[in-house]
Amino acid sequence: MKRQAITALNALAVFAALVALWQIVLWVFHVPPFMLPSPWAVARAVGARFPLLLNALAITAEESAGGLGASIVFGVLVALLFAQSRWVRKMLYPYTLLLQTVPIIAIAPLILMWMGAGIFAVTFIAFIISLAPIIANTTQGLISVDENLVHLFLMHNASRAQLLFKLRLPNAVPDLFVGIRIASGIAVIGAITGELFAGSSRVGEGGLGYSILYASSQLQTDYLFALVLAATVLGFGFLFLVMFLEWYFLHRWHESARAPEAE
């Protein structure tokens, strides 16, 4: 835990340096505030509209979490199906690549048209975009089991269910976490992208994506910055939560999840 504290302090120092640099750029180049507001102006914007900002953050967080949660559940189920046979994998795997390569910007309007704009549709977009890494990583973990371990199970006449639940699934947990880590960032991006298209039912109120559009149309650059900051915080929050869970579940037995000593 001491190491983590040092890492956090380092990150904080970098943050302070960046803010200082930002202020210096403003002083040296005389940038007008509607193009680049000062750190102080952004802080003021955060203070002035805190409830609104928090509301936007909560909406986006909810959509991202919902999408990510759904993609974990559905992705693991698909991976379990893929692990059953090479044949199934060969037939269906290309479609998961499709999930990864289809530009979300292009299909977001379609999804919104089909499902109706709203939190549900945005959650669905976050779900679609975060699904591929979960499927790919979990499948990998399920099928890459040491052959001797499979033989060991066979020597005890293990059933298919025992092979799956006592060998393949636990073997896939570290890979699943790699997938979730990647997916958590993408889910937030997906939710914000969705909101950019989805609009809001009430003027001025909506998730971060919607609020960013609104602030930019009103030339409220300081608030826009505050929103971008909030989006970043959200992404980080997700990542830290996932990393904590990963550490919590894996540190006792898995190499990658130990406190990072050798980097």
């Binding site: 040491d146 001797n148 371990l149 033989h151 060991l152 199970f153 066979l154 020597m155 005890h156 006449n157 293990a158 025992q162 006592k166 060998l167 636990p170 947990v173 006792r252 037995w253 898995h254 190499e255």
Partner: protein
Amino acid sequence: MNADACVPEIEIAGVTKQYGNAQTVLESIDLIVAKQEFLGIIGPSGCGKSTILKLIAGLAIPNSGTIRVDGMTPQNARETISFVFQDATLLPWRTVKENIGLGLELERIPKNRRENEIAALLELVGLKNVARAYPRELSGGMKMRVSIARALATNPRLMLLDEPFAALDEMSRDHLNEEILRLRAEQNWTAVFVTHSVSEAVFLSDRIVVLAPNPGRIHAEFRVELPAPRTSAIRNSREFDAIVARVSHTLRETLRP
């Protein structure tokens, strides 16, 4: 003596094995292992030693010939066979205790009986103080002990060991060899032990089979007549050295084209 005791533990007759269309791995192998015999198999790498063990365990199917374990097909005899692999092949997410109990768990032995069995085995292989540790916290020798305890948990009549101590330093290896003999004396299982260490084979075995490669076949056989309770002192005896020299010489023959 009952009639059952006359059935050899393992009967391999005219077995040939080939993976796919590749070169023949084993050619017309005939081998009989008596009940409670300790058979050592030695040979250059790639000559099919692991394949023989897999055939006996029913994990590989011969292309021709027959294999009987205690008069049954290998698949039907599996309940009486335990396999020990070169790397300990433990489940990293399970503690030592949980790893030892794996076979019992897969065979659906009730939990309280499992616990008793595991406690006895921890004692037997000297792992009581690390019962709750995870494999990554153990040394190579300790992992191997866990693997052996796991194999013994299901009360096997036949132990198949595939170079179990190859990755260990000589001291742990010698120590574990003595322990293997002690465990066998207590439990009377039959053993087929693959190794590429001649002295290990001589120390452990009642009989040694030397395999020659390309294709894998039986090249020579040695009976190891060393006095009964084999202790570490035997390694320094003249008879021991003589047998080691003879087996080593034969092993070198197999490498000549």
